[in-house]
Symmetry: C2
DNA sequence: AGTATCATGTAAGAGGTTACATGATTTT
DNA sequence: AAAATCATGTAACCTCTTACATGATACT
């Protein structure tokens, strides 16, 4: 298996295809019409990326010839693709991901839905929270270094960053609580053996 | 004047140099040691960008030969550079800037300190707030389209985005209040003619 | 004397953006 | 019949990343 790491766009494509097999045009529509991260829907990015993933055997294309037109290339994950996606989903949030503001942490969370267990998701979220709180301490340390009356914009910009990360911590706490209660309900239902209608 | 738009890194360089003349290495240190946006401090990005800005006559370099070593190239803004920076600082925040999450809005705010009047800064912040609230309405519209019990991660991801933008709106309101009171104090001091000591 | 840091760069490669191309299908 | 949209792509260009190069000064 090929350990080379992928671009964020490529991981996003793996994640999307994992939820449902898709063509390049389907991906384009997703990026263009839903608030799924901040990816460009330009075909010049999407189609070459899909081809790269196909070359690396992470995706396979099945030619859909139901219509007589030029066949759509519908992509799905190979086994190596599932492994690569799962390995990525298991990566903890790093300080660098926070600083670079790439959107990778929330993207991983979004795709973790069906692929990670509730306990794994909670562990991921808790790691994210810890990394965020450590970075928050760093940022708060800068507050003392700024002469506020001399540089109000510098201090306010720093405050903007701090507030953002504080909001993330709150969101994580709520998300963990919600996932816990959701998983408890699922277990309770499982105990009574799925009563239908 | 050259109306071609610049990359965010290039605008960041104009902004940094506007605060104090700097060499490429000074910029590198800024990016490496302060939480100034999410720029890479790699010389392969910084030095070529400075050269591009010099070629476009937005920056000029003065060779500092106080030391007998290889002279440092200390950059400062040309008049065209000041005009380009000011034009950028006057641009309102767009929906695209919010979606792409580039960090341009807070970067402009940070550099607006000495170059825009308090009234202009407040107008900028208020435009940012309005654009953010409009985008928030868009995002809230997606809430109804998601079946929460079927796709809890999708709904939580959306909520993550919504919370972030709500936090920005709150920060903007506080920032406006602070800038208003700061500017009132400055006017009051101006009336009594700068008492020293 | 040797190592770390200062300070400035270059070279190769990858990925993304913008713009264009192509041909079929659906809509007006 | 014409226009818009579906669907897939290519080509040129630009910027950034990574890694290496270079030579001077400061430190130990």
């Amino acid at each position: 298996m090929d350990t080379q790491s992928l671009t964020l766009l490529e991981y996003a494509l793996l994640g999307l295809v994992s939820m449902a097999p898709m063509s390049g045009y389907d991906v384009h529509k997703m990026f263009a019409t839903t608030p799924l991260g901040h990816f460009s829907s330009s075909p010049g990015a999407i189609y070459p990326a899909l081809r790269r993933l196909e070359r690396r055997d992470l995706l396979k294309a099945t030619l859909d010839s139901t219509t007589e037109t030029r066949p759509r290339r519908v992509y799905s994950l190979t086994e190596a693709g599932q492994a690569a996606l799962d390995a990525w989903l298991h990566q903890q949030v790093t300080r660098e991901e926070l600083v670079s503001n790439s959107g990778a942490p929330i993207l991983r969370f979004g795709f973790a839905g069906g692929r990670l267990s509730p306990d794994e998701v909670i562990a991921y979220l808790d790691g994210w929270r810890q990394t965020t709180e450590a970075y928050l301490e760093e940022l708060r340390g800068y507050r003392g270094l700024i002469d506020a009356s001399a540089a109000p914009h510098a201090r306010l910009s720093l405050e903007h960053g701090i507030r953002g990360y504080e909001g993330v911590v709150e969101w994580i706490q709520d998300a963990i609580a919600e996932i816990r209660s959701h998983s408890r309900r699922a277990k309770a239902r499982g105990g009574r053996r799925a009563p239908r209608q």
